[in-house]
Symmetry: C2
Subunit: 308 residues, 2 copies
Amino acid sequence: MSFDKLQEAIIAKKNATVAGLDPKPEYVPAHILKECYARYGETLQGAAEAIYQFNCGLMDALWDIVPAVKPQSAYYERLGWRGMEVMERTIRYAHEKGLYVIADIKRGDIGSTAEAYSDGWLGATKVGEQECPVFEADCVTLNGYMGADSVNPFLNTCKERDKSVFILVKTSNPGSGELQNVSAGEGDTVYGLMADLIEKWGAGTKGKYGYTMAGAVAGATHPDELKQIRARMPHTFLLVPGYGAQGGTAEDVQYAFQKDGHGAIVNASRSIMCAWKKTGKDGADYQEAARNAAIAMRDDIARFTTIG
Amino acid sequence: MSFDKLQEAIIAKKNATVAGLDPKPEYVPAHILKECYARYGETLQGAAEAIYQFNCGLMDALWDIVPAVKPQSAYYERLGWRGMEVMERTIRYAHEKGLYVIADIKRGDIGSTAEAYSDGWLGATKVGEQECPVFEADCVTLNGYMGADSVNPFLNTCKERDKSVFILVKTSNPGSGELQNVSAGEGDTVYGLMADLIEKWGAGTKGKYGYTMAGAVAGATHPDELKQIRARMPHTFLLVPGYGAQGGTAEDVQYAFQKDGHGAIVNASRSIMCAWKKTGKDGADYQEAARNAAIAMRDDIARFTTIG
């Protein structure tokens, strides 16, 4: 139920981190790009194939280290349908490797439109008499600005299929406070009210570790707020972006976890995908570099958080 | 510049409405479904092809009546990459018919991720030395919860390529007030603050009709709030969902317009796409039915708003 599957994968690997798969062509080593552009030209197809090969190579190097991967939809959409086809294949490959998949899509829409998104990303789409699975992620990220109408259709799919969602509370970007930190309600903030809404929306769906199906995104770059969010959302599993390239440290992200080390997962994307850029070997060693970076991140966070 | 292109199309057709292309297979007449399922099976491909034929048939019937179409990404994503391929073709076909295209994607993400979305939907994606156009919409919808960091990358593309965006302010769903109407700032609401942010983000990009590149989504189902939003956002072009099936009337939507009848466009999706369901002819007349519904909607709104 709910986030049990993810929590168990974290415990099994003693690693509460997720590798973001946000592949821009400039993150892909030259030898992969060269081969794909030679075969398909400098085209969207060529870039999509290069990204797929890169993703698979990364997952081959990381599958026994990290419990989960988080492909970011934007980097696939920017390659059009060919990118989306690679998104589908990437998720299938991740599942073959036993990885939990968080599709970072940050969708938010209402009624039958939210159902359509939920069918596509978590459930299955009815075509005539057939049930057709589509992206089949384990979890998606959502934006709750439109209220429960935009979240409930996803939670219905989560209940049917043992999936879960992360809803934006307090994001990691420098300007996140522009709306999120405005005073609202009675002595509160917009993100504080969103935190309460998420606890409410998830109510009644707790799994055996005590977390509902409605998780929350809370950035590592605001550690004081992360601490408050953790206290205020005791039944909410947290996805924490902002570690590494964006400036969040292991010391900062420790506040996302409960005392038993449960209840959160920390994302890093560029620091793993682009680790090869720091070894001076032109990307031939991108798998080893990514694996070393993932191990270093795991151990860095383990300095402050022991997973019970 | 900015929304000039859309405003001019509205004036030329004397019609401030946009036809939503949110095609679920159950909206597609049986003769189209039957042919596509016979050819491709009851598969995602079969459904995607049926939707493409339906979209083209609708646009053939509507192109000289409506200035714009608004495909909703969810209904394409739920068919996976095959749906996204049809989204690309649908946008191309709309452009062949001279229609302005609002891609209803409600994306919201930050930094290089927002750039990736913007490249994919409004701009072009660099692959090696090539600039590859992808979806090539004229306009997208956005969710501004993450602040200017999530909007500016799109506005940069808008400036380069004469495109525009609509950002959610006050949505048409029954539960939209759950966050949007909470008291915030000084005697204000969350959506009120968002309204001010959108005016700020768009500042300096006004076109000849006085509207910036940063439009706003304001639902027809809350006419009092629509009136306030119109007054508060004098430089903001409005996209108004919620007319028709969701309960908004022509009397309600009149408040979205300025005194000269400019500055807004009203969406209807199901009432046009599914108009054939009311004629008792099993969908053989779906084009005529859609055209009649679009004309009726145009004339209904013209009772209250004369486009100057």
